[in-house]
Amino acid sequence: MAAPVIQSELQCATCAGQCVYDPAVQALKCASCGNVTSLETADDDAAAEEFPFDPLASAPEAQVDFDSIVHRCETCGGSVTFVAQSLSTRCSYCDGPVVVETNDRGYEPMALIPFRVPEQDAQTLAQAWVRKRIAAPSDLAGVVAKARVAGLYVPFWTFDSDELIQYWASYRVRRNKRTETRQTSGVLRMRVDDMLVPASHHVTPLIRDGILHDFYPERLRPYRAGYLSGFAAEQHHQTLSEGLERKGNEKALLIRNRIKGHVNKSGVHNIRYHTDTSGIHYRRILLPVWILHYEYNGTAKKVVVCGIEGRAYGERPYSALKLAGYAAALTTLAVGLGLAWGAAGLI
């Protein structure tokens, strides 16, 4: 059953004005009189609960109709919902034009982490990130300063699992001035704990790893319309098997890296493995992000700021002239060292 948009929850008890979630006070705040209403409940701790995955379950998960305004983007295909009032006629992901649709069907999130970083701070953090870019065009900061951020709840999965991995690999050793390839094999255990997997193709794993360094399940709150008020949200549309497939792609790279560490030799290659996965638990959650859209030389780019801790990461252009300058400096250094080495008659 979809979380109902309880209009009374979003209406100020004092003046009947519209309330929106204010990250600065972490509560609903009336846009008219400034009255603050807490959204905390006695069972907030239960939001961190994880759900076991049953591979033998025959019934598919039930979908729900979200009682909210759906805006579907005509540029990137993204769909975001707004609780209560519509906030924007542009897509939160790509800033493209959106069309209003009547219904949105998907899977109800189990929990969310509310926004903690206010819009103004997010704007400052995004601009600070852009200013720190090495070899960025000189006018980039000015272009980004004119852009605005959009607050959005993005769907994510969290996955837990236990992996029992059997592997085979090759590595290189130096022996009598020759390089030899040797074979090795082994078994290792790996615990995957609260692996965050984006359930939206708009947030790439790279952006996730840039903005979400730590995940604290105790910050999760039950899914309530009040937390979404004032922000856009993309709902969960992926099935659990689609989520597990995405997790599998991410996990494969981590397993290969763990095997390299377990072999602990140089030149590890040709890695093959088999893993037995057990104890899968998951959550469907929403995480808050601020997305800043800007356009540079006709190319749309974005900087994403974590709505929980304020970490920023995103897409950036390079200045060809500055790149060439750095390349020239390093080349001159290498050539200088090489000339001196050769002139000295060293081997």
Partner: protein, 105 residues
């Protein structure tokens, strides 16, 4: 003396020009690796993908340095063929280093 140094000097300038041109993608990768090391979650998949391929930076610098050693030897001795001949051992050591770098990347 000046005339005998003119050819190695021109070769060094040409090497700087070609090295700069070839170095632009390598510098871009260097910046991406630096940013990944400082901004992405250590050990995450995004971090692993971003730092992968860093060997292009080492190959570019090693190749530039190696060609410069030949020019340096040529400038000092005035004997290009001899300088190329003496560079073979250096090249072998560099190839060993390159194989080791490829294994670590």
């Amino acid at each position: 003396m000046f005339l005998s140094l003119a050819a190695p000097a021109l070769a060094a300038l040409a090497l700087i020009a070609f090295g700069t041109l070839a170095g632009v993608p390598a510098v871009r990768k260097l910046i991406a690796v630096y940013e990944a090391k400082h901004e992405l979650k250590q050990g995450s998949t995004g971090w692993l993908r971003s730092i992968g391929g860093w060997s292009i930076i080492a190959f570019w610098l090693m190749t530039t340095w190696f060609l410069a050693t030949i020019i340096g030897d040529w400038g000092a001795t005035g004997d290009l063929e001899g300088a190329i001949g003496r560079s073979w051992l250096r090249l072998r050591v560099l190839l060993e280093i390159a194989i080791a770098i490829m294994g670590e990347d």
